[in-house]
């Protein structure tokens, strides 16, 4: 079991967050506390202090992960999570407001809409999402379902440091819920589940020789021709899972081989990435890859299962209905798979265009932040 740092006493008031402020203003406050992966203590302190002060949540801290729960005895519980870290800042803080004109939008990534944006690191991935969650956590003391809010660290780095992953190992009970929502950017729509992902090294082995006497050797790069042929000929499937269409993919992402300009190489390595629909288990995906590259030396070096969208569960369906709009499949792997692995259906729902995540001109449309706050509130507000 991984070790977690001891809980840290947090409240020092340096970065007092105003949870009663407008959600755009709160997004700005969160973004302007730098929190690259591994350096989240300041923002975790600020979040912990702010939710602790509310009085209606039971607050727990694990390293730089903050858990805040209602304990109202509702029949159902929803987990709602967002990560506090960002990829490295690249001269894109503090945030500022920008206006995207029709012309700007036409020249930008596909789907960019004109309008008012908050620009800067973390705005899309994913402090706007965290801001909507904090606003609803603060203002709904008695939601329709019990809620476990989770704000965690180290999502942008290797899986072994991921705060949600560590929490699921040391306190899986805190992730148990009937449904989970992850605030990753989805342009304010609902994206269900996610594809699984495998990475593998596919290798060929030859025999070295001087290239002036190539017949004395066996060229490992030439032996790799069928690997690339199979990849080039492969037609990825689109699979329907729980009513959503998952597009798969199988790609070489790296290739390397060679010793020197005059030596017949004895090794060639093709690094492949397989993205598979969540109807396939990890074992099935590994077996497919090994059979696809039959005859070659295949080593699976990284594996993460997919997550079914779980929209057949009534509580998840009700969420999609409450926030409105079409539900789409999520292609990229996200932490929803961690909930899925615990049997909790989970979706992604957050403001911001994923194409702008990690971009130096990262920026989130203000109307999307407001719309996601409204959506979460509509879902959780007690009708009574």
């Amino acid at each position: 079991m991984p070790e977690l740092p001891s809980p840290v006493s947090a409240v020092d008031g340096r970065d007092g967050l105003d949870l009663s402020a407008d959600v755009v203003e709160l997004t700005r406050q969160l973004c302007d506390i730098p929190s690259e992966s591994g350096a989240e203590s300041r923002i975790a302190d600020a979040v912990e202090a702010a939710v602790d002060a509310l009085g209606h949540l039971r607050v727990l801290r694990f390293g730089n992960t903050v858990v805040a729960r209602t304990e109202l005895g509702r029949a159902t519980r929803v987990a709602i999570a967002g990560h506090l870290d960002t990829v490295p800042i690249n001269d894109n803080l503090p945030t500022r407001f920008v206006t995207v004109t029709e012309e700007d939008a036409a020249a930008d990534v596909p789907g960019t809409r004109p309008g008012e944006y908050l620009w800067g690191r973390g705005t899309v991935d994913m402090k706007a999402g965290v801001a909507t969650q904090l606003r609803v956590a603060a203002s709904l003391a008695a939601p329709r379902h019990d809620v476990t809010w989770i704000w965690y660290d180290n999502e942008e780095v290797e899986a072994s440091r991921n705060g949600l992953g560590l929490l699921s190992q040391v306190r899986p009970d805190l992730l148990h819920a009937d449904f989970a929502i992850l605030g990753e950017p989805t342009n304010g729509g609902v994206e269900g589940g996610c594809n699984g992902t495998l990475r593998a090294d596919v290798r060929t082995h030859g025999r070295r020789a001087h290239s002036a006497r190539a017949w004395a050797g066996v060229n490992a790069i030439h032996l790799a021709a069928p690997i690339l042929e199979r990849l080039a000929d492969y037609e990825p499937a689109t699979k329907r899972v729980d009513g959503l269409d998952y597009r798969e993919g199988l790609n070489a992402t790296r290739i390397s081989g060679g010793v020197a300009g005059n030596v017949i190489p004895d090794l060639c390595t093709v690094h492949v990435n397989y993205r598979f629909a969540p109807s396939m288990s990890l074992d099935e995906a590994c077996a497919f890859l090994e059979s696809f590259f039959d005859g070659f030396d295949v080593e699976i070096v990284d594996r993460s299962p997919g997550a079914r969208p779980g929209l057949d569960a009534g509580i998840a369906r009700a969420f999609a209905d409450a926030v409105g709009g079409e539900v789409r499949a999520k292609f990229g792997w996200t932490d929803v798979a961690r909930f899925s692995a615990l049997g909790v259906p989970a979706v992604n729902y957050g403001p911001g265009d994923p194409q702008k995540a990690h971009a130096d001109d990262e920026r989130v449309a203000l109307d999307e932040i407001r719309s996601v706050e409204r959506g979460l509130r509509a879902y959780l507000e007690d009708e009574a």
Copy 2:
């Protein structure tokens, strides 16, 4: 025109070479003067002093290249050359004598014969060859043909530093001859001409995308499949040139591509090495390569022409007859091509197994050193 260092006055007697000694002893003296490429001044000084003292040769010095000529007014002139440098010493100096038993020979590289050997850096490549040349230069004051002896530096490093190449640019007249002999190791046989060699980068261009949304990109590694297929399917020819069989070769020696494990790569580069028979010109070889990789981005990055064996010239034929034995084609590129480019037919002829050149257990059979000395002497001795 490249600059050459000014001629250096040499004689200091530190490394007095005894040209009247047995050729094996002289080989040992030469090897025990360390002379890695770029550090040949000590050995060049010793060689210059030794041949200058003979009195029957006109001695010239260019940097660390020594030229010694007879000027007897013969109808024909032969150039005989060897390089003075070695690849880096790797705990394999000073030299020592070793005995290779039947068992040792069976466990070594193919063709190893039992017998007495001189072991150490430079024994094969190519101080034994230089020793045979110095012995004959010293003892034949009036050879049958005028002789231009050339002992040069920096053969084991980039072509731009090669002493013979530099000499051919500043004083091409000194390389002019009716025939040339290079003392590179050939197991004591005659190897004619050499294949040419080209190196090229063959590239594919795609478009980056996140590997979770591969359909938004174009995979440059997959686009390289036909490059490897063509290479794998290519059957290299063996071409007869001036009576010798040259085996060609076309090989990928390096491949690289990829940005990150989750990114569709936009570039893949296959580095290929083409070894072509000397019946083909450089331009023809370039044209072949470009047409072979038709449809791809081909950049020729290095080119060296082959050398015809020129054994149809009477003087060359007479040499082969004098030293006896079968004449074979040389597959690796050697400095004979520099003579060939000046219209001088040239062959390789020297003691030592090329498979042991650059090896840490480099070693030359003593009987091969003696046999090559006898061969050179038989060829040059005046019958009168």
